[in-house]
């Protein structure tokens, strides 16, 4: 197996709040395999989005990265720790939006309401590459057509309010792809969409990933979506990674009681007329307090490996 595109080690993020310090990430270690889709699953507050923001060096006050490293390896061979890049380092500019791009949940807030679609898609390219306006426009049209927007040339001069929710998300995807990033981070990209539109967007993302050989990190709380799009899965809970594995391993043979709880809590045909099981029914609190994620041995046997560095003591931290 080749080198992972991103290697996160012992990442700790804290947020200072009025009532004390909240540890948003606790000793998170995670590899994103190159050319694969890794789904990060978890509920609100589990640290999914904070992990994504940290990967772009976007943790701002009152948040603070207190420990750990995020090593990014480009296919060209460049390797750097995102957390150690200076704010003015040109590599940081190249990293954000160039090598790594992001697709957000809410396409209406991700797009500027006062700029045309064409303007916004071209801006991403003009910021990162030395191209003239005409080339940028041609490229924007090509990509908008690729993501399924008909009459793309005519629609360049339209504004986001003239697009439906699904069409807006297609525009956001075109913006994310225009610099041919090596990694796309999708933060709940289909949560705000109808289930039919969601199916179309998931199919599109899958095709694009194959076409451009991009690595994808896919943040979601929807296990159905995970099953459809992911190659690998990491389950997060309250700032910890509880378990990692391939999508088949995690969904068919979950190691952690929390993962089993998440699967059992899903309503469906089999649960009709019964009470749904809740996480509280299935998981003892102490089972959620471990700092060492469950990992699989090649044989598939369950084992808890110690983290590579001992967890950092946080005396005043809330739990």
């Amino acid at each position: 197996m080749s080198e992972p595109i991103v290697r996160i080690r012992d990442l700790e993020v804290e947020f200072a709040t009025e009532v004390g310090v909240t540890r948003a990430l606790r000793s998170v270690s995670l590899d994103l395999a190159r050319g694969r889709t890794t789904a990060i699953v978890g509920e609100s507050g589990s640290g999914k989005s904070v992990t994504a923001l940290a990967m772009l060096g976007l943790i701002d006050a009152p948040g603070r990265v207190t420990a750990g490293s995020i090593e990014f390896r480009s296919s060209a061979g460049a390797a750097y720790d995102v957390l150690r890049l200076d704010r003015r380092d040109p590599r940081l500019y190249q990293h954000r939006g160039g090598s790594v791009s992001m697709i957000f949940q809410e396409p209406m807030t991700a797009l500027s309401p006062v700029h045309t679609i064409g303007n916004q898609v071209m801006e991403a390219l003009l910021t990162h590459q030395a191209v003239d306006n005409e080339t940028a426009q041609a490229e924007a049209i090509r990509l908008l057509e690729r993501v399924g927007i008909a009459y793309a040339e005519a629609r360049l001069s339209q504004y986001p309010f003239e697009f439906s929710g699904g069409m807006r998300q297609r525009v956001v995807i075109a913006m994310a792809l225009i610099n041919q990033p090596e990694l796309i981070i999708c933060d709940e990209p289909t949560t705000a969409l109808d289930v039919t539109v969601q199916a179309e967007i998931l199919t599109l993302l899958d095709e694009l990933k194959a076409q451009y050989a991009t690595s994808v990190m896919f943040i979601t709380h929807d296990i159905g979506v995970v099953a459809q799009i992911a190659d690998d899965v990491a389950v997060m809970y309250r700032g910890r990674v509880l378990e990692t594995g391939t999508v088949r391993e995690v969904l068919k043979d979950p190691l952690h009681p929390y993962t089993r709880g998440l699967l059992a809590a899903l309503p469906g045909s089999a649960t009709r007329g019964t009470r749904l099981q809740t996480i509280d029914d299935l998981v003892a609190p102490e089972e959620l307090a471990t700092d060492t994620p469950l990992r699989r041995l090649p044989s598939g046997r369950q084992v808890a490996l110690p983290a590579e560095a001992p967890p950092i003591g946080q005396p005043g931290a809330s739990t």
Partner: protein, 284 residues
């Protein structure tokens, strides 16, 4: 067999629209809900599903008369056994019925007033409906908190002190404190995390058993609908394309649009890949 609790007949809502500059303005009408009919028996749950813009919310809001329908009828059997057409009543005539018809909203953050304590949120419906005895109100509020499994210490706290799931419990308590008979749940569990959603779904089920509630359950999540609804009505562009008992509808959908909706649900099983139907192949 007694009369159904609610009988909806050809309920329709049209909105006037206009396009173009004022001189050459073209007036036309947009039909948001088009001739919807169904019956709902007491103690049952009817799911209303469809995509955004299909008219789900407009339909239930017309039944509660939050929106006035353009035509059609919604006959409701009151606790006293009268059959009343909700669409023809005046505001004054509706007022006492509002006790019996309640709604639980989608977003537990925007549906609770951030400046009111839980006690005043839960008391307000009682005050509106003329309960003057403060002690009686307090005991009703406390009983309601017990019912939705929130601690009594919640009374003096404000909504911001609660999690999403707890807030939705407060919304449920507020809807149920007047002991309604028909409860409209408009995407009431959509905004919740899976584990919290499971708790709230269980709670809604328990309360239905305990209080004999009838639910109109609006949702876009078909897995949730399949779990809790007895019958389902599928709306597409304001029209009912299919309705029937839940298992029949899910197991052998008759209409192309129902099949499209069902095929789009991502199954939590990596061996069952998503194969969305092509919308273009459907003819409506």
């Amino acid at each position: 067999m007694s009369e159904p609790l609610l009988t909806v007949r050809a309920l329709t809502k049209r909105y006037a629209t206009s396009a173009g500059r004022w001189a050459s303005r073209e007036r036309s009408e947009f039909t948001a809900v088009d001739g919807v009919s169904f019956t709902l028996d007491a103690g049952r749950t009817l799911g209303i599903v469809g995509e955004s813009g299909s008219g789900k919310t407009t339909l239930v809001r017309m039944i509660l008369r939050a929106i006035d329908p353009s035509s059609g009828h919604a006959i409701y059997r009151t606790a006293a056994g009268e059959q009343l057409d909700l669409t023809t009543l005046t505001e004054r005539e509706l007022q006492p019925l509002r006790r019996e018809l309640q709604m639980i909203f989608q977003d537990p953050f925007s549906s609770l007033n951030p400046r009111m304590t839980v006690q005043s949120i839960l008391e307000e419906p009682l005050i509106v409906h003329g309960e003057r005895d403060a002690n009686a109100r307090l005991s009703a509020v406390q009983a309601m908190l017990d019912l939705v499994a929130l601690p009594r210490s919640s009374l003096t706290r404000f909504p911001h002190a609660f999690s999403g799931g707890q807030r939705q419990r407060i919304s449920i308590a507020r809807a149920l404190i007047l002991r309604p008979r028909l409860v409209v749940c408009d995407e009431s569990v959509s905004a919740l995390d899976v584990s919290v959603q499971a708790q709230v779904i269980n709670l809604l089920g328990d309360l239905q058993q305990e209080l004999g509630l009838t639910y109109l359950f609006v949702a876009h999540d078909l897995a949730v609908v399949r779990h809790i609804c007895d019958e389902v009505l599928v709306l597409y562009r304001g029209r009912v394309v299919e309705q029937g008992p839940t298992e029949t509808l899910f197991n052998s959908p008759q209409h192309d649009y129902t099949r499209l909706l069902l095929s789009a649900i991502p199954e939590p099983d990596p061996d069952r890949p998503l194969r969305p139907l092509d919308r273009a192949t459907l003819n409506f």
